[in-house]
Amino acid sequence: MMEAWLCWLTPICGALLTPILARLGHKVRDYGAVVFSLLAALFASRLIPIAVEGKIIWERYGWMPIPGAPVYVGVLVDPLSVIMANVVSWISFLIMLYSLEYMHGEPGLTRYWFLMNFFIGNMLLLVLSDNLLQMFFGWEGVGLCSYGLIGFWYRDDRKYWVGTPPDEYPPSHSGMKAFITTRMGDVGMLVAMLAIYSYSGTFSIPELQSNTMWASTLMESGLLTPILLLMLLGPIGKSAQFPLHEWLPEAMAGPTSVSALIHAATMVKAGVYLVARIAIIAASLTHIIGFESFHTFFIVVAWIGGFTAFLAATQAMVARELKKVLAYSTISQIGYMMLALGAAGITANFVEGLTAGIFHLVSHAVFKASLFLASGAVLHVCETKYMDEMGGLRKYMPVTFTSMLIAALSLSGVPPLLGFWSKEAVLKVCFETGDVALFVLSAATAAITFFYSLRMISITFLYPKSKHLEELEAEGLHIHEVSPIMWIPYCLLAFSTLILGVLGRLVEEFFHESLSHIIAAGHLEAVVESHGVGFDPSIASLLASVSALVIGGLPGYWFYVARRGDPYSIVEGSVILKAVWRFLWNRWYINRLYYILFVNIPISLAKIMNRWIEVGFFNGLQYGVSLITLRLAILVDRFMEVGFFNNLQYGVAELIARICRSSRYLQTGSLNINMYQVSIILIIILLILLVSMGVL
């Protein structure tokens, strides 16, 4: 399966060649980069027959020789990875094409093309990996590219800042924030991967599916759910789900092409992909350890998804920046995907849940990439990030307007566009879980989605021309439609959301058909009874979709399209609405809280510790010890050395001196005294002689 290897290797080689191609000239470098991404897409499409036939191909070679538990490098080509690889590579190619014009003339383009191709390669590596460790390489690789590309304008010129004061952040800060926040999730994921590895001795996904020992051991020790939840932290971070979602709005500081590719269409889906893989592994283990053992995990997944969908959608209602609306919307829509995958596990109807999740993933990738690219064109023309400084663009940019309208309607789930079918599928599996609260939450999110989509389109395109634009025109700037190389990619994407939408059911059937090949044969389809409250899930979800459109669409139309009421004055007029607005505008205060908890507190803690523990205690202790030693030496000097030893020495000397002094008369040289001495000695000798001779 050469194509699978080449698929991810080609863009990485392309990335590494970028600096060399840059030497040959700018044109060579730019077009070369696009060609490499096209090659990856072509290789990916060569894999499609495998998905259609439902085959699974698995190849691997030795990599890290850990005794007893070797690690391999390999590819796993199955319908899921093929679908992902094609979505990633084709959308990437279109965005690379768009970049040719969009990034034209920017400084640092070698860096841009390097990171873009490196990203594509790593993303394809991620989806085609046969094992978790290798997947982690891709996982962190895309994170690194995301970091580099968010901070592409690292000089932090004012015009590239994201947000509104006081919550305004420069690109280099935003990139760092993204990296560190996602990294926090990756830590959990790494723990889980390593724990599973300790039990199973493998990272390989097919082996984890076939070898069930690890799961039963984990279950017996009560660690299965904790480990899976730790694993979930990775996807939560990467896919910007609550509680690690706060990095994605700031990620909009990067070039719009980057936002489209990394922060809408592909990288942020990596988490969904991994959860889908976990769901597949879980599905193949259910006949051994029962699906109940995974129940808690999937409930958490579903609720995180459902809650995030709602949380982010509410924030999109009040956003001022065009790209921020889309960013919140991305977080919200990924929540839907997670919800579908969670529902898959709750109902144990893995095929249907997986289909809904992946279907929505694909449809979102298409329409959101289109939306982002179109918004890039708008930003390019208007030279502002705020929607309220645009307005009236319908007249000047009709192509962009049409494309963006179609994509936004698809996002809102308006039939017969692709988004309608995928969202309906999600709502359907959500209904089947029997969790009414979750279902209501996701239906409400659908309503909000339509509302903010209408708001976004209206303020940008339908409102009267803003002062800012008039000023621009006064300065002699001509507001005009962008060039075809820019609009072709997003129109193509918008067009496909329309075409695929018309074929909606067939597309869903295709996903259902090919994904069911992966789920082990003979597994428990609908073993669990549908918890539906006596309702047919299809009818319930259809009803919910339609009523959401009505509930969200009417006020949206009333306020923003027909402009019968002024939303600003209504909000200003009511204390409660004003409070709600402020709450949503401040992102539920979660962002602020995180800055306090994870930035301010650790840094102040570090400073305090530096002052009191490092300098105060440790250095103080060291100086204290040396000081005490010194003092001790001085004391010893005074009392022992001077007091005792010296005095002893002087004492001895004095004694000797005294003896000498008293005996010095012996040495006077006076003959009289000498004669006395001679007489005394003679007497002594005489006495000794007498004693020795025995006389005495």
């Binding site: 990599w63 005794p67 990294r183």
Partner: protein, 495 residues
């Protein structure tokens, strides 16, 4: 008798040091190339026999049964390789740096490089030694030249700091000597292999074993500067001449870790198994503390010094797992940290040379002026953070995999929690690393730095060489890993 190859690698720099000193008078700063050539020879000697296990033994004091031996096996290979490669490339890096530091006092170049060679040989000898006495001598041999290097060409209160450095590490060495004497008294041998066999086969009272092991551990941990024994490190590493910092942090302190694994762990496995949790906790606190301290620094070299303390915590963390995966991870981490921190200290030196600054808060926006330096800094920090495709990831996943495996195997929930906390502490590395990159290289350029230019080619080449190496090991670690894991498994009897 095998060919005298490793002994050449160690003794040539020692023997030629006086000649380098004399040549320095004539050649001025060019004498660095001579030192470089000598170290290239040492590196080549090591690479020549790196293919398989290689042992040379020479009789030294026959009456005492002391041999002098040099052994290159899977365990000492990553250490020897790191020391040889780092000291070789940093010899080149020293040429522009010491020219900047010493200026036109040509007499000093000779003594700098002579001491440099002695220092490198001391480190190399320590990791290749097969005998405890021999190990101890080399262990002290690396102390004295580095003391002089700091005292003579350091910054700030260099004499006082060098003295402090000497005292601390010497106290550590004395604790080590005490336990070597005790081991000799118990076993009657000094050869590491012989002592190991004797200790494995005799049942000595656990208290005695614990006493010897503690003394030894403390001796080595002073060198590794784990929390509580770290006081000397930030001073010494921050104020040493930068090329020496780039050897102290990445190459020397990790030798403490080598000692723990090669000597303490292989002599006293029971002790390490029994005290696995406290050691893991100590390691975790070191990681956390070093990281937090790094976060609060403004002086770039001090920041890197604290980061080294934190990274030594990882080494000890892996050792605390007492299994093949974790210990191999630790050994590999010595190499990863060596590469990453080697890059970063050399970068700090380039910043000092080009901007005359050490304070991070006075820098900013340098990426456009020094793109290669910025890229290398990022690579250095990513290696420390443990991003996949850098060698840092391979070692980090093995360390944490080892600890998690050991905690699951022993069923100890406390240890699992410490493992998770340990991984969380890696967030701090990401925090101070990327924050430093941002503060130094991104944003707008302050006025006083507008004239800054990229570092010289001679200074950048060693950095790029290390950067390439970190990717090579990160993507294809098999050649090192293969022998490393085998040796750890067989020679330490770890599973």
């Amino acid at each position: 008798m095998s060919l005298p190859i490793l002994i050449q690698a160690v003794l040539t720099p020692i023997v030629l040091a006086p000649i380098v000193y004399l040549a320095g008078r004539r050649l001025s700063h060019h004498v660095g190339w001579l030192a470089f050539a000598i170290l290239i020879h040492s590196t080549a000697m090591i690479l020549m026999v790196a293919g398989s296990e290689y042992l040379e033994v020479y009789s030294w004091v026959p009456r005492m049964g002391w041999d002098i031996g040099f052994k290159l096996d899977g365990l000492s290979l990553p250490f020897a390789l790191n020391i040889a490669v780092l000291s070789t490339v940093i010899a080149v890096y020293s040429i522009p740096y010491m020219e900047h530091r010493i200026g036109d006092r040509p007499g000093e170049y000779g003594s700098y490089y002579a001491l440099y060679l002695l220092y490198a040989a001391g480190m190399l000898g320590a990791v290749l030694a097969t005998d405890l006495v021999e190990f101890y001598i080399f262990y002290e041999l690396m102390l004295i030249p580095s003391y002089l290097l700091i005292a003579r060409w350091g910054y700030g209160e260099r004499e006082r700091i060098a003295f402090m450095y000497f005292l601390w590490t010497h106290i550590g060495a004395l604790a080590l000597l005490a336990s070597i004497v005790a081991v000799y008294w118990v076993t009657g041998a000094t050869s590491i292999e012989v002592v190991k066999t004797i200790l494995r086969n005799t049942r000595i009272p656990f208290q005695l074993e614990a006493g010897m092991a503690t003394a030894m551990l403390v001796g080595f941990l002073v060198k590794m500067a784990v929390l509580g024994l770290h006081v000397w490190l930030p001073h010494a590493h921050a104020e040493a001449p930068t090329p020496i910092s780039a050897l102290l942090s990445p190459a020397m302190i990790g030798i403490g870790g080598y000692g723990v694994i090669r000597i303490a762990l292989s002599f006293f496995p029971r002790f390490f198994t029994a005290y696995s949790l406290p050691i893991a906790l100590w390691a975790f606190l070191t990681m956390l503390y070093g990281g937090l301290m790094a976060l609060s620094q403004d002086d770039i070299k001090r920041l890197l010094a604290y980061s080294s303390i934190s990274q030594m915590g990882y080494l000890l963390f892996g050792i605390s797992s007492v299994n093949m995966l974790g210990v191999s991870g630790s050994i590999l981490h010595y190499l990863s940290h060596g590469l990453g921190k080697g890059i970063l200290f050399m970068i700090a030196g380039i910043l000092i040379m080009q901007t005359e600054l050490r304070s991070i808060s006075r820098m900013g926006g340098l990426a456009s002026k020094m793109p290669l330096t910025a890229l290398s800094t990022l690579i250095g920090f990513l290696t420390l953070i443990g991003l996949p495709t850098t060698s840092g990831f391979i070692s980090e996943w093995m360390i944490f995999g080892g600890v998690i495996r050991s905690s699951l195997a022993s069923g100890s929930m406390d240890k699992l929690i410490v493992a998770i906390l340990g991984l969380l502490a890696t967030m701090l590395t990401a925090g101070y690393g990327l924050w430093t990159v941002r503060r130094v290289f991104f944003g707008s350029i302050p006025k006083h730095l507008e004239e800054v230019r990229e570092g010289s080619v001679i200074a950048l080449t060693p950095i790029i060489a290390l950067a390439i190496l970190t990717f090579v090991i990160g993507v294809y670690p098999a050649p090192i890993l293969d022998r490393l894991t085998q040796t750890v498994m067989l020679s330490l009897n770890l599973g």
